[in-house]
């Protein structure tokens, strides 16, 4: 017994080191799996509050860019109002097929990261505004990501610039599906994988969200085709997609509540239970 105590006292620093290293490594491993730890995220009151304060200052510096964006959106809204048959313009957030204006929460980005392999965005609305995990986040130009964690007043978003994110997307003119991923390199480009070689694709084609996902409604803009690669030994293409959004400069965003989602999941669960 005496020797055990002596051992612990002699090696107390080493034991403390190993304990804390173990905690931090397990937190790291947890963060690399899809379901993330809830404690260490910027959606809590301390970091969310600090980011909101910082953002209040930064907003003044970005007023010009934000104003330009608002003017553009206003112009597009007016053009929609005056010639309603104008279909060449990009779809608006509150004119998406199947989504009522009441299903949209307007929110603001208070922290945005884009320099790591797994990027997250912090928003200043949370459970009190009705935000729940797995809701889609878009802005006037295109998609941004999917809600990850929520707290009463803040929420974090898995950005599309996150190597864990996979979003169902399709080519607008031919309806061929693929899944949208990011290879961790450039902030302006994402990859559309698993597109069948049967699809005819040209540079400049528009990529939009597909109807298979229960997170985003169908047909929200993502980007345009930049380069098409053939994946070796498979019958699939990998497409490099140039994003419409500048992910390094985000202001106001829209969160989409999908009412059909629960119904869809229930239905799919029922089918799974039947199979078992």
């Amino acid at each position: 017994m005496q020797q055990i105590f002596n051992f612990i006292i002699r090696n107390s620093n080493r034991l403390l080191f190993l304990l804390l290293l173990g905690i931090s490594l397990s937190l790291t491993i947890q963060s690399h799996s899809y379901h993330r730890s809830k404690i260490i995220s910027s959606a809590n009151f301390l970091s969310g509050g600090v980011y909101e304060k910082i953002n209040r200052v930064n907003e003044y510096l970005n007023l010009r860019a934000e104003n330009d964006e608002l003017v553009l959106e206003n112009a597009r809204l007016k053009s929609l109002l005056f010639n309603q048959k104008d279909t060449t313009k990009a779809p608006l957030a509150d004119s998406i097929k199947g989504v009522k204006p009441a299903d949209i929460i307007v929110s603001k980005v208070i922290h945005n990261s884009y320099n790591t392999h797994e990027n997250f965005i912090t928003l200043n609305s949370g459970e009190r505004q009705g935000v729940k995990p797995d809701m889609g986040v878009i802005n006037s130009l295109g998609i941004i990501g999917v809600i990850d964690n929520t707290s009463p007043r803040y929420s974090t978003v898995v950005s599309i610039l996150n190597m864990k994110s996979r979003i169902n997307a399709k080519i607008k003119k031919s309806n061929h599906f693929g899944s949208l991923t990011w290879n961790g390199k450039s902030t302006g480009y994402v990859q559309l994988e698993d597109v069948p070689r049967l699809a005819s694709i040209r540079k400049g084609d528009t990529i939009v969200t597909g109807g298979q996902s229960s997170i985003f409604p169908e047909g929200i803009n993502i980007g345009t085709v930049d380069i098409v690669y053939k994946k070796e030994n498979t019958s699939f293409y990998v497409i490099k997609v140039k994003l419409f959004n500048d992910m390094t400069n985000l202001g106001h965003v829209y969160i989409i509540k999908s009412k059909d989602r629960e119904e869809l999941i229930n239905l799919e669960n029922k089918r799974k239970e039947k199979n078992e």
Binding site: N13, L16, F17, L20, L25, L27, I40, V50, T116, T248
Partner: protein
């Protein structure tokens, strides 16, 4: 003794605040940002309580992780740096460092520079390896470590000279 504790607490909070407000937003070339908050571990008094250093640097890293949404990578890197700090001292200042009075915030000698260099490199390698977590990013990790280390060392030395206590 008490004033040393107060100075350390003050340093802890100030370095974290500066890191989060200013340096986390310095995305030079898209992905290079310096991490001068580890100055807290570098400048911690040489002969003080080691358990205190390890535990406080764990808290330091955990707070950074909370703000960066990065799981536990900063905490792991900080804990490793604080545990191996005595070995880096031995490497840079020779075996008898405990009997000397080392003050890092004085004129920059080769020993002091090599101490800062080795500490920053150790911290950044652990940080970026844990962040990438995959072997296929080997060159990416090396490149990020190299560039971020250069920036961290420059900003650290500037900060050391800015907060240098006045001599009477």
């Amino acid at each position: 003794m008490n004033s040393a504790l107060l100075v350390n607490i003050f340093r802890f909070i100030m370095l974290l605040a500066i890191q989060i407000v200013i340096f986390n937003n310095m995305n030079f070339l898209g992905y290079i940002s310096p991490f001068p908050y580890i100055l807290y571990i570098i400048l911690y008094p040489v002969n003080s309580n080691k358990a205190g250093l390890i535990f406080s640097s764990f808290l330091l890293g955990l707070t950074m992780d909370m703000f960066c949404n990065s799981g536990g990578i900063h905490a792991a890197a900080c804990v490793i740096l604080s545990y191996y700090r005595p070995y880096i001292f031995k490497f840079s200042f020779g075996l008898s460092y405990e009997y000397q009075t080392i003050k890092l915030n004085e004129s920059l000698t080769p020993e002091r520079f090599s101490f800062i260099l080795v500490s920053v490199l150790l911290h950044h390698i652990v940080l970026f390896v844990l962040e990438a977590f995959q072997f296929k990013f080997f060159w990416d990790v090396l490149l990020r470590t190299l560039f971020s280390s250069i920036f961290t060392i420059i900003t650290s030395i500037i900060i050391i000279y800015l907060i240098k206590p006045n001599k009477r």
